[in-house]
Symmetry: C3
Subunit: 345 residues, 3 copies
């Protein structure tokens, strides 16, 4: 039998020409059980299928009967499918394997997989993502095609209505689609759909989490987690701290942060960090930074490029404030996250 | 007679189980006059009381009769208390002393006291705050319990409605509750309820003000004011500048900024500054930074840890761009805020 | 014949006293053709005219007949002018020359000229701007006078309505008024009306663009573009990178960034850069920074203040990580923007 990699039922918004703007998936099945797989394969083609209200209701019911999950039950219990506004579509997306992204609903399915914590960053195929995601005006009325916005703004101006245009982007904010349990996100405009936030993640106001990036939790995130970067448990990324990405202006080294690390405020990393590492506030370590390594007897042992220290644990990086030398010592103090602060319930 | 430390009438939002999500207080009495205190003590228990519409109206009227404040009169004039939606509650909160916080409405009362400028940061008892503040989804429909959000998102998707989830946090943005006179806040999602902003404070887009923190005004705030940090008059915190906090990943020294200081863009402080101090753009002074102190004859006098300079006035901190040494000189130029820019009317 | 510098028809919001809060211009004419100029001069006084619905319709029709632009036609086709809410006004603004700003609608007209890409930053007269822009509460219900907000918040609390106060500022976000073609703006609260964003500009979540400032496109903007600063094509401003402004706490040198430049994450500039310059991540070059210039044979040629290198091309600025010296070399690698990432359609 053909396996299913991922399946869901969704509600999509479309522009006036019927082109997809986004898709919302209230639940997700990742590698569903064989019995349900067989039934879904009987009903649905590979990829995206547009459904009538009765087809949507029928498949919803079938899914709810074959999965124990409460969230599925809630998502698939009858809603008023028949009064759907004209700018919405009911869809099913079924992927038998993790193929390149071929449509907007498939792109949204992959992003939901990450934000629902069903797949870790860097573990699924996102080829085709940028090509399949349209740029959308994310407004207080919902997604609007940029080509249709000006007319909407004008109509609103002549009436009592008001439209806020919150973003013009390929990626919407995560929280309008997925709110994972046990997280706090102080300014939700700074976390894109496709971010992975583990239980106990707190994203403060200067924090940012890109798609296919995130924190395993618990974590304090006051800096920017670039695409592809993942933070391990109990690490703290300080205010405006930077994790150099590989997409734009950055290096080629895939960065990450291990467990129990502290990257200080206004600091930055261009190399992956192991566990229990600290970068002092204000210090940017790029892959090419020359680092003097100090041994435990306080002797200088050698000078390396930071990339040679990539992924190593128990490192403390500072810039000596009287010689200007960037130094690396053994990190004797690993941080402790503040419990009261990180309780997200 | 038992005195009253703080009193108000509020409108609270509750979840489907009746648990408090927030409380809005349209006015606040801090140490009200004896006559009113006597009347309130006759009517109300210590702490939170849920009120019927007629009780709310009666106490409102009583308060308005015994206080001259226009804002009280406005806040307590009859509204349609009787048509209150089922997710709202009318409450009174009366605290005879500044006790530990024991309920959500009490937590909100304390935060309102700060944002209404009735109490300065670090002068009131906030013990119990994190425990009594629930994590809430702050949405375009108002506060929603995280456990109830997914169903609401789904319902909205099947209809014409759209929900923006702006934040998932214990603290709401200040401006949905309190808009102090004479301030500008470019991006209100970055100022938490409980921030103290004096007249003439301007918070720019990269600025941030935590609860129990703030600026006495006038001030230009383009950086982050951490919990507990207060800026004095006529000081400027540059873009993305950091004030190291004591909650998470920071040090143990309570930081502050005096009057007429400039902390440059992308700079940071881990020590309190006195008056007329400047930290150059891009320089982070932690408590442990070794600083060479230069006397007025341009001689090096000694090398200190920055914490030994904590709270001193007239200091200029730079990192020499040819030796890498962090230096401290006497600050000869104190800044002047741009008048046109800081006029907030 | 008196020429026209700029003309438009707009819809303004007013407070309860009829004072202007903002003005939205759905289209703009910059130096319109002579025939239309003659007609407009017959109908309209210099500056702002409040119009009746029939006058607005009549002038709309006249403009549409004499201009080929589709956007004008769309903007001026009949809407229900007669049901205008009481807090709105129909206005015409006609400026025969680029005079000092004398009213709120004139201020908004100038800001629209910049955001509609009809005038480059630093090319129009903005004197009087701050004086003529009122501070407004930008809310989910539209602009509200700060003096009227508290009553509105209170009314909403007693009802099912919810008001989000997104900003308290003289400048609204650009995207509620103008959405230029071919741009992405991840968090629209960080781009003020009056920003100039050329085709292919992407403003990421930590980016910021002030009024009278911008990017000619294509560009990646993850840092802050201060008032008066312009970036040339194919340049990248890294996360939280700072461009020192001249308004507040900054220097007196007008900064700019040429083409094919990279200002790294958490870096900053206090001097204008020519083309193909790089400032390494985390390095802040102020005008007074002492820079050792290294020639192509790797010899130190001289030590200069950075302001002496203002506007020069092909420079690479780094801080040597073992000596602490700020160095300037010839930049051998100019950046390339990632095409997939910068496609904004």
């Amino acid at each position: 039998m053909t396996k299913i990699f991922a399946f869901s039922l969704g509600i999509a918004c479309v522009n006036k020409n019927g082109a997809y703007l986004d898709t919302f998936f209230p639940f997700l099945l990742h590698k569903p059980p064989d019995k349900l797989t067989g039934l879904l394969n009987d009903f649905l083609e590979e990829g995206v299928s547009e459904l009538s209200a009765s087809e949507f209701a029928r498949i919803s019911k079938m899914v709810a009967e074959h999965t124990a999950s409460v969230s599925v039950t809630s998502a698939t219990r009858p809603h008023n499918y028949h009064d759907l506004p004209s700018c919405k579509r009911l869809v099913a997306v079924k992927l038998s394997e993790d193929r390149d992204i071929q449509s907007t609903p498939e792109a949204y399915l992959k992003l939901h997989l990450l934000s629902h914590r069903l797949c870790l960053p860097n573990t699924i195929n996102l080829d085709g993502l940028f090509q399949q995601l349209p740029t959308v005006c994310w407004t207080s009325l919902g997604p609007i095609d940029p080509a249709e916005l000006n007319e909407r703004l004008l109509e609103a101006r002549f009436s009592d209505e008001h439209i806020d245009v919150h973003s013009i982007d390929k990626f919407p904010r995560m929280t309008n689609y997925v709110v994972p349990s046990g997280v706090r996100i102080a300014d939700a405009s700074r976390v894109r759909l496709g971010a992975y936030l583990g239980v106990g993640s707190t994203v403060m106001h200067a924090g940012f989490v890109n798609f296919n990036a995130g924190a395993l939790g618990p974590n304090m995130i006051e800096g920017r987690i670039s695409q592809g970067v993942v933070m391990g448990a109990n690490s703290d990324l300080g205010g405006s701290a930077s994790t150099m990405g590989t997409l734009s202006g950055g290096g080629k080294l895939k960065n990450s942060i291990g467990e129990n690390c502290l990257v200080g405020a206004n600091a930055g990393i261009g190399i992956p960090l192991g566990d229990r590492c600290t970068v002092e506030a204000g210090l940017y370590i790029t892959a090419g930074t020359l680092v003097e390594v100090i041994d435990t007897s306080d002797n200088s042992s050698r000078i390396l490029k930071a990339r040679e220290l990539a992924g190593q644990s128990d490192l403390l990086f500072i810039r000596h404030s009287q010689t200007g030398k960037v130094l690396c010592r053994t990190n004797k103090n690993s941080i402790e996250l503040n419990d009261a602060l990180h309780s997200n319930n």
